[in-house]
Symmetry: C2
Subunit: 295 residues, 2 copies
């Protein structure tokens, strides 16, 4: 991987003592974005246009992935984008813009809310396993198994020994996935405390956004530092070469979308996918189509 | 419903003796498409632009559907688009264009191939039930339970008494769905025998499309009239007011995409969806956000 790759630039920094200090990463930064000499006057408009362009570039990549799984029952390759963020961090918007520019046919999008009664009766990875994309698909997880070391830790939903053991369980699980053909792209959308306030206020002002507002989000906000610490631990302890974590500065939505789509494009390009070759006699088929009888 | 609605125009004609004669419907027709005095010079470009515009109009509709399910655990409303067609009929392309213009977050797309060993061990509706969209979602079925009265009938995969009984089973199943909050939009993409040949030849010519070519499709093509008859029976016997069938002329891709997205828009508009109102004290929440302490 070139040092200037977006993956290298956004890879979570090495944690000190098993935790990353997110306060050292500026949520308004734009790492990797070309300068104005490339983008022209508006970097924002440039980035928005590129997201659409990258979507068009990803479309044949998705198709090659899908095609391989269609023609080869033993093919197991698939891509899984995991999105995590504080409330208002922009998970839904990222999916609308980034996944919205891709081909919907090969997408498998799954949102995880609070676990149901049935889900609570099973180990925490049970519902995750059931939601995994099949070979050939690009999965997008809107929240994920990481909630079980985030809200579960901050709100003490389980005893400490339980959530403490989950980091290793997650690493084992993700190694199992990468061994099984998964390429994981784990993204933390990093917003500031002030930006969250702005977005919450906007939800209060716009009646079309009231349904997205939950008074409990303000309670969670009062524990901002606890959540940031829980994220810092998850990012440090579950960042592996096989399943790396990326921190995307997300106060600027247009940068966020560009960065996530660029991460996907780099990841796909690295897979070196190709269209499967014909496993039939092309000329013979052409003749059959010219010389046919219908009944 | 106004007589000029696209749904009225495309609703399958009443069948004679339990079957619709598809030969009476022109696959190159463009019912409902405005004339050139509205569309300007290129009807094709106008239709392509409208598909994008309709996608943007559908986005808030999808959001209202999704929002209702998020705030009300008892909400059961959802929309299911069922796409059926002969090989090369354009199911994938329709999904790419029509669903691709919508918000991917609320979409649930599922493709059905030949049943697996496990699926064959269950009644034919078993795998369909497992793939249904949850409340708040728009489902898209790329093929469906109708294969079990199409290929299963033409290729004699099951005895006649079995496939004969399935029409009623399907009607009962779909009534159960509509009673359970589903709005069904069942679309047959209607192409001509000649158009299918053109598209098959194109798949042979373009190496990026070889994976989509299956010599068995030419075998199925030799039974074109049998398949048209099987479609004619399925459309006639499973067209109900609760779960109507629409026939979309599909030789012209731009008309096909416009018609399907227009069908969806009309269907959504009829649902009369609204954003859920706030169930909290807006002013109180605003004060909490202005007067907060973080720990």
């Amino acid at each position: 991987m070139a040092a200037s790759s977006i993956r290298a630039l956004l890879r979570v920094p090495a944690g000190d003592g098993g935790s990353v200090d997110l306060a050292t990463i500026d949520p308004r930064a734009t790492p990797g974005l070309p300068g104005k000499e490339v983008t022209g006057r508006s970097r924002k408009q440039w980035a928005r246009d590129r997201v659409v362009g990258i979507g068009a570039e990803l479309s044949p990549q998705q198709e090659m992935l899908y095609a391989s799984a269609q023609v080869d029952p033993a093919a197991d390759r698939r891509v899984l984008l995991v999105l995590q963020a504080m409330d208002c961090g922009g998970k839904d918007g990222t999916i609308r813009r980034v996944a919205g520019a891709m081909n919907p046919l090969g997408l498998h999008i799954r949102s995880f809310g609070p676990p149901t009664r049935e889900e609570l009766d099973h180990p925490f990875l049970w519902r995750i396993r059931r939601a995994l994309p099949r070979p050939g698909y690009v999965g997008v997880f809107n929240r994920s198994h990481y909630e079980d070391v985030l809200i579960a830790r901050v709100e003490s939903l389980v005893p400490e020994r339980v959530w403490q053991s989950r980091y290793d369980e997650i690493n084992d699980f993700e190694r199992e996935l990468t061994d099984g053909g998964f390429t994981l792209v784990k993204v933390f959308l990093h917003i500031s405390y002030e930006e969250q306030r702005e977005r919450l206020l906007k939800r209060l002002t716009d009646p079309h956004k009231h349904w997205k507002y939950n008074p409990a989000d303000v309670d969670a906000r009062a524990r901002w530092h606890d959540y940031q610490a829980a994220y810092g631990a998850a990012l440090a302890r579950c960042d592996t070469d096989g399943a790396p974590w990326y921190v995307v500065p997300a106060d600027r939505k247009w940068y966020r979308d560009w960065a996530v789509s660029h991460l996907l494009l780099e990841t796909f390009t690295d897979l070196g996918l190709r269209y499967p070759p014909a496993d039939f006699d092309i000329e013979r088929e052409r003749r059959r189509l010219s010389d046919e009888r219908v009944c």
